[in-house]
């Protein structure tokens, strides 16, 4: 059984906490999920979160109390990610084999979507599209918040989200006349609950 601790409930301010650094702990689960989406590698993601914690701690004076700490932390994390990519000049090691699996497995052309196929297709997207989809599609940020986090124009984020979704549809071969069916019970449960808020908590 893997060691570790249960993640704290996300987005919960520390009761009575006056030091904003105390809040970092409560954003770790979403930071790591964002890091995994960027690195596509759980080990690299953990290293990235560790760097983000240190950078955030040192830069805490630049955080404005009362503003969105999660967005602030996400910005630090993505800056560390892209800075690391520029230094390395090559893709991070694919220790999890996620990309290899992606390259060797094609989704079935039967109009069905399994969650594993979705994960694999997602890893094929360019960094900027994965990032935009996570921030807007998964974390519930507004386009404006995502744009501020990434330091780009709102239109740029909208374009990345649009192209990311279109690419997923293409990879998963969803854009045909066959009815959409889910082969994965968990996926089915989510999709049939289609009325859920688009702003679900990350």
């Amino acid at each position: 059984m893997k060691s570790g601790r249960k993640p704290p409930r996300d987005h919960q301010p520390v009761p009575g906490g006056l030091d904003p650094r105390d809040e970092i702990l409560h954003h770790l689960p979403s930071l790591r999920a964002f890091a995994v989406s960027l690195t596509r590698n759980s080990s690299a993601a953990d290293d990235l979160v560790q760097d983000t914690i240190v950078n955030a701690w040192r830069a805490i004076d630049s955080f404005k109390p009362g503003t969105n700490m999660r967005a602030w932390l996400f910005t630090i994390l993505r800056n560390a990610f892209y800075s690391g990519r520029r230094k390395m000049k090559y893709e991070v090691a694919d220790a999890d084999g996620a990309m290899a699996a992606t390259l060797s497995v094609k989704p079935q052309h039967d109009g069905r979507l399994a969650l594993n196929d979705f994960r694999k297709a997602f890893t094929e997207l360019p960094d900027e599209q994965r990032e935009a989809l996570v921030l807007v599609g998964a974390s519930g940020m507004t386009y404006e918040e995502a744009a501020a986090t990434c330091g780009v124009a709102v239109g740029t984020i909208k374009s990345r989200v649009f192209r990311g979704r279109a690419r997923l549809v293409e990879i998963l071969q969803l854009n045909d006349d066959e009815p959409l069916e889910m082969t994965d019970s968990a996926t089915l449960a989510v999709v049939t609950d289609g009325r859920q808020s688009r702003k679900a908590a990350f």
């Binding site: 570790g4 993640p7 030091d19 650094r21 968990a186 999709v191």
Partner: protein
Amino acid sequence: MPEDNQDDDLEQMIDNNLRLVFQQELERDLPDRFVELLRQLKEQDPPQ
């Protein structure tokens, strides 16, 4: 229009799957080293 409806369905399906994938990430256990790192940082640089 049927085509628009299908586009909406696809968008909703993609976003639902995104949320599901990342919810699963959120629920994974955190490595102890994160909490330990925060503890060490606080020890070195306590609140004023």
